[in-house]
Symmetry: C2
Subunit: 172 residues, 2 copies
DNA sequence: AGCTCTATGTATAATTC
DNA sequence: TGAATTATACATAGAGC
């Protein structure tokens, strides 16, 4: 049969809900991709599945795929550098960022994105104070992760400087 | 007339592109909202307009609005604490996080979100190494922001400890 | 479980106001 | 401009593999 008018409420039947999720997730990402192409704006959709699976992200899986292939064809030394200290490496994220680079690097937009993400993080921490006990673990976890990140960046910088010192000519 | 088959490429005509953007942005957010409602997953769409305006976010502007109103009715002292050290306060972000809190705080989901955001940040930094000069500013900027953030968190913690010291009974 | 196949609900391109 | 209108393209609920 064809379709019925949909009632806007949580689908209780597990298998139906899962099917609907799969279909509509595809639709949403396609729409996001089209908006990006047609209007030349950066669009990003993030979908968190309730329990186990990874969150699904991005306007266009095909684009990501294409860029990922490019990444994989990079000289292996450079590839290694990309993964430096990344315990849980996610090609998806890297490829999306490469895509942004490819598209001509709109610095303002990148900065805005970064700001937005940091807003989320800092906002989260501040909001945590409302329900203290409940969120303490999360709070601590963010703190740890940021310490990690700072360390990672320090390492990256250090290895860059080291390279500069070894080469006589300045890198491009 | 009705609609024509759409060609998937950047719309060059400014006014047409703007109109299409407005329509499709609405459609996308509606879809995201429906997915959230029907499947009980957290969905987040972020749309960056090319130049001036803020990025448009969220599955459901109405929900955000409702939560924002709740936030604004909080005791003013608590409100002030929310804004602590936030030079560029964005109620939108806070309200989204409050929404998550209201919805019953799914800790795993929050942790996953946090991880995703940190992936973005760290991924960005790592990728920066590809096109060194071009991305140096951004790189530095992220570094600065994270230092800021760490400081903010330290301050928050310090003020929390201070409060604990002043009160005889332990907080909730 | 996930794919294909329709019938039908929705989104939206073009046009008007 | 932006909000309404209308004709059509597109998305997708339900059913069958």
């Amino acid at each position: 049969m064809g379709r019925r008018k949909v009632r806007l409420e949580l689908i209780t039947n597990d298998s139906v809900r899962k099917t609907t999720f799969r279909k509509r997730k595809g639709g949403l990402l396609k729409k996001a991709s089209e908006l990006k192409t047609l209007c030349g704006v950066d669009t990003c959709a993030i979908i968190y599945t309730a329990n186990d699976a990874e969150p699904h992200v991005w306007p266009s899986p095909e684009d990501a795929q294409r860029v990922l292939e490019r990444f994989q064809s990079l000289p292996s030394k450079k590839q290694g550098k990309h993964m430096l200290n990344h315990e849980d490496y996610r090609p998806k994220d890297v490829s999306m960022l490469e895509l942004k680079l490819e598209n001509g690097i709109k610095r303002n937009q990148d900065l805005e994105m970064e700001l937005l993400l940091l807003d989320h993080l800092s906002g989260k921490n501040v909001v945590d104070l409302i329900k203290d006990d409940e969120m303490k673990m999360l709070y601590q976890s963010v703190d740890d992760k940021i310490r990690d990140l700072t360390l990672q960046m320090a390492n990256l910088k250090a290895s860059e400087v080291e390279e500069d010192a070894h080469s006589t000519a300045p890198a491009n």
